[in-house]
Amino acid sequence: MATARTRLTALLLAEAKLIGRNATVAGTATVFPIGMAVLLVVFGRDTLGALGWALPIALQIALMAGMTVYITTTLTLTARREDLYLKRLRTSECADSTIILGLASPVVLLGILQCLLIVGIVWVFGPAVPHNLPILVVGILLLVAMSTAAAIATTGLVSTIQQADMAAMPFFLFLLGTVMWGGMGGPDGPGVVQLLTPGGALMDLVRLSYDPAIGWEALSESLPALAVLAGWTALGTGAATRLFRWERRV
């Protein structure tokens, strides 16, 4: 008998199959993060600056969360709505949340995998060892969750894929820009205002993860940044609940 979990799994696997059958998407999804990590290792190691590996790694993570999770999820949901596939799924026994999560999950999981791939490649070939790995992992997960919520909200603002393409740019650039801005605080971390941005919070978490001078106290020092990312995730979830539409805007 079908349950919410089996339905979610069925939708996830079907969507993953669709991604796999699109050679361009499948290729760029694997080649892109690997390529970025390799470039970082090869060309970046001599230009790291005061923050060391933290800033380029934070930028790469933000890039993956922004492009793979946020932009791709926005485009996917918009396309599925435009194709009236969302409408069809709503005539099934699936709850609305199951449909959204089922369609978004493959891209979200791919985004997480890409982030971990970058960390892994730079760890092995960098070498840049994350001394506080749990902080880094939780930061990545929160950033991906925030990006997913933002994508669902953005989908509600647009009617076509072309609109989605353009509408997704501001938040994506905001994410990357605030990582850069957060990096300007140097080894001491972002300032208070910088920390309140998602990129600034991510930057702080990555800094704390990679700084060998910071030990167990990193756990407590990471709490403000984790709270900020959790807050942005909650904000995104609220916006998604309010803005998302199952049929395109007329």
Partner: protein, 324 residues
């Protein structure tokens, strides 16, 4: 007697809940300031096929989608299988099959994968192979949906709606886009389901299909129900026609006088049409007159009004109220 919307409202109050699959009272649906459905009342009995007809933009699909739980009504009450379709959508979809007027597929999944996905989303058992065979898609099972023709996609639509043998079926223009052979196959599926006691609410542009299958029907126009009732009552509400050619030189004044409200129209030289509320009585009068006066009548035709005529009268009128 024909039901008019007013009578149906009072009739709905006395409808036996056990035998009522769908109960709609004063349904209103709006898109912003535009009211697409304006105070519609009807009910669908368990085991019957109810046809909802109307022109494009009449509000049929909005009504159907509200009953399917896909949109919330602006006002009024709707009960489907005893449930609020919007609030209890999941539970409703466990028991109902839905074929939307327009809906999409994941184009890169094959027919078999699409059917299997639908099986996995449903809590009721189903036989995918039997369903694909029945809808003529078994030989296309490994073809990606995006490569199907429009008619094949429509058959896949119907397949997904009937896959789990639901007790209630919503069919929004199910045979649009199908070739005649596919259309007949689709209607055979519908007839088989009707014979099994499945309740159906159908919209279609093919009036003859509604005539041949519907137990009761309604015609929507500009968001309101203009006509509703059993097929017999609806057809009886419109006057029957008797038409013939009088021989040249025969004066129109020689025609018999008719009792009751009979309209006699001269269509063109020599051709006459009688519109009568009592076909049997006035046909007998014409035949008797013909025999008595030995007047040969050419191109003699007598028939009850068709659904087509009633439909056109409804949509051609200028915002008149319901039929009397």
């Amino acid at each position: 007697m024909i039901d008019d919307p007013g009578a149906d409202r009072s009739a709905a109050a006395n409808v036996d809940d056990v035998n009522t699959a769908i109960d709609v009272r004063d349904l209103r649906c709006s898109y912003g300031t535009f009211e697409a459905v304006r105070g519609v009342d009807f009910h669908v009995r368990t085991g019957e096929l109810f046809a909802l007809l109307g022109t494009n933009g009449a509000g049929k699909t909005t009504t159907l989608e509200t009953l399917e739980g896909l949109r919330k009504p602006s006002a009024g009450t709707v009960r489907v299988l005893g449930m609020d379709p919007y609030e209890d959508r999941k539970q409703l979809h466990r028991r109902a099959g839905i074929m939307l007027q327009e809906s999409g597929f994941a184009g890169d999944l094959t027919v078999a994968e699409t059917v299997r996905l639908w099986q996995q989303l449903s809590s009721r058992r189903s036989d995918a192979d039997e369903a694909m065979e029945r809808l003529g898609l078994a030989h296309r099972r490994d073809v990606r949906v995006k490569q199907l023709s429009g008619g094949e996609r429509r058959r896949l639509d119907l397949l997904l709606a009937v896959l789990t043998k639901p007790e209630l079926l919503f069919l929004d223009e199910p045979t649009t886009g199908l070739d005649p052979e596919s259309r007949e196959a689709a209607w055979q599926v519908v007839r088989d389901l009707l014979a099994d006691g499945v309740t159906m609410l159908l919209t279609t542009h093919y009036l003859h299909e509604a005539e041949s299958l519907a137990h009761r029907l309604a015609i929507m126009h500009e968001g309101e129900l203009a006509v509703s009732g059993s097929l017999v009552d609806v057809l009886s509400s419109e006057r029957a026609h008797i038409s013939f050619d009088l021989p040249p030189g025969t004066a129109a004044g020689s025609l018999p006088s008719f009792a009751g409200e009979v309209d006699v129209d001269q269509l063109h030289a020599g051709r006459f049409r009688l519109r009568t509320p009592d076909l049997e009585r006035d046909l007998t009068a014409v035949v008797q007159w013909r025999s008595a006066h030995e007047v040969p009548l050419r191109r003699f035709r007598a028939h009850h009004a068709s659904l087509d005529e009633i439909f056109h009268r409804v949509v051609d009128r200028d915002g008149d109220a319901a039929l009397t």
